[in-house]
C-alpha cells in the first residue's frame, strides 16, 4: 500500500495503465547499479530518482571538474573539486529523499566489479570508455544481470539492452581493442541517450513494453533521426558464447 504522500508524488505515472500502484511498488523495491556518474549517468540518475527507484548504487571514482559542466548536469560550479558520488547523492536526495542512494567512489576493475554490483538487480552502463564497458559486460553476463548500454560522441549516440544468455551482448561484434581517445560531446546528446537507458531500465523493472534487445539504436542529433539495426548473438563471442577470451 502506497502512503498518501507516495500516491501524490507518483500520481502522474501511476495514472499510466502499464504502471499503476503495483508497478510503482515494484519500482520502489528495485535496486539499480549505475556505473558512471558523468554525462550519461547524470540524466539516468535524475530520472530514476524522480521515478522512485528504491535504491540506486552509483559507482564513480572521479571528482567534478569545470570541463564536466557542459554535460554532467548533476553538478554545478559549487561542486568543482568534490567527489562526484558525494555531489550526486546530495542532489538526488534533494530531488527525492525517499530513494536510497548508495555511493562507491572506486575505479571499476575486473577484480572488484562483481563485488561493486553485488545485490543489485540491473546494471547500467554510463561509462566513458570501452575497456570498462567490456568489464561491465562480462560481469553482467556472469551474474546474469540485465545490462543497459549507452554511448555518445559529439551529436551522436547509441543504446542497446542486453539480457544475458538471451540476447546479443556488447562483445558479440568485437573485432579488437580500440584506442582510447578524448571524445567530443555536447550535453544534449548524453541527455537523450541517458533518458533512453533510464526508460529501458524502468520498462525492464516493470516487465512492460518491448526492450531494445538485439537492436542497436543509433541517434543522430544533427538530423534528429533514429536508426535501428538488428544484431544477433554470436555463438563464438568471448563473453556470452563459447569463444576463447580475447584482449
Amino acid at each position: 500500500m502506497l502512503t498518501s504522500r507516495e500516491q501524490e508524488r507518483y500520481d502522474r505515472q501511476i495514472m499510466i495503465g502499464e504502471i499503476g500502484q503495483e508497478g510503482q511498488k515494484k519500482l520502489m523495491k528495485s535496486r539499480v547499479a549505475l556505473a558512471g556518474a558523468g554525462g550519461l549517468g547524470s540524466p539516468i540518475a535524475l530520472y530514476l530518482t524522480a521515478a522512485g527507484i528504491g535504491t540506486i548504487r552509483i559507482i564513480d571514482h572521479d571528482e567534478v571538474a569545470l570541463s564536466n559542466l557542459n554535460r554532467q548536469i548533476l553538478y554545478w560550479e559549487e561542486d568543482i573539486g568534490k567527489k562526484k558520488v558525494d555531489s550526486a547523492k546530495r542532489k538526488l536526495n534533494h530531488l527525492n529523499s525517499t530513494v536510497k542512494i548508495e555511493t562507491i567512489g572506486e575505479t571499476i576493475t575486473e577484480d572488484n566489479v562483481s563485488q561493486l554490483v553485488e545485490g543489485c538487480e540491473v546494471l547500467v552502463d554510463a561509462m566513458d570508455n570501452l575497456s570498462t564497458r567490456y568489464i561491465l559486460n562480462r560481469c553482467a553476463i556472469e551474474k546474469e544481470l540485465p545490462f543497459f548500454h549507452g554511448a555518445v560522441n559529439g551529436f551522436e549516440g547509441r543504446a542497446m539492452t542486453i539480457l544475458p544468455g538471451k540476447t546479443a551482448c556488447l562483445r558479440c561484434m568485437y573485432r579488437g581493442p580500440v584506442p582510447q581517445e578524448k571524445f567530443p560531446v555536447i550535453g544534449v546528446t548524453p541527455g537523450i541517450i541517458g533518458i533512453i537507458q533510464a526508460t529501458e531500465v524502468i520498462k525492464y523493472l516493470l516487465g512492460i513494453g518491448k526492450l531494445l534487445t538485439n537492436r542497436l539504436l543509433l541517434y543522430d542529433g544533427l538530423k534528429i533521426t533514429f536508426n535501428e539495426f538488428t544484431v544477433s548473438r554470436n555463438p563464438n563471442c568471448d563473453h556470452c558464447g563459447s569463444g576463447v577470451r580475447k584482449e
Binding site: G36, G38, G39, L40, G41, D125, A126, M127, D128, N129, L130, R133, G150, A151, V152, N153, G154, E156, G157, R158, C172, M173, R175, G176, P177, V178, Q180, E181, F183, P184, V185, P190, L216, L218, D220, L222, N227, E228, F229, T230, V231, S232, N234, N236
Partner: protein
C-alpha cells in the same frame, strides 16, 4: 538498381560531404572497393590493412549487422550498407 552505402558523419569529409554513395559489387568487400575507387580517402577511414577493417568500424547490411566476415557477405541490387563507427564516450 545500384547498392547504396550510407557514409558515417565523420567520414563525409572523404566523400565531399556525400551522405549516400552508389556502388556496384557482389559482396560487401567489392562494394567498399568501389567506394574507395570513387573516394580514395575512405580506405584509411575503414581499413587497418588490406581486407582488415579497423576495429571501430561496424557494417550493417539492410539494417542488420554483417559481422562476422563482413567483407564476404553477398549483396544484390537495391541493398543498403551502413558504415558506422563504434562510440565510446559517456
Amino acid at each position: 538498381m545500384p547498392i547504396k552505402i550510407h557514409i558515417h558523419t565523420t567520414h563525409r569529409q572523404h566523400t565531399h560531404g556525400q551522405e549516400v554513395v552508389s556502388v556496384e559489387g557482389s559482396t560487401v568487400g567489392e562494394c567498399l572497393n568501389h567506394l574507395i575507387k570513387q573516394y580514395p580517402g575512405m580506405e584509411k577511414a575503414l581499413f587497418a590493412k588490406k581486407d582488415r577493417l579497423l576495429n571501430h568500424i561496424e557494417i550493417y547490411l539492410n539494417h542488420a549487422s554483417a559481422y562476422p566476415n563482413e567483407l564476404a557477405k553477398p549483396v544484390k541490387d537495391g541493398d543498403e550498407i551502413h558504415l558506422v563507427t563504434m562510440l565510446a564516450g559517456g
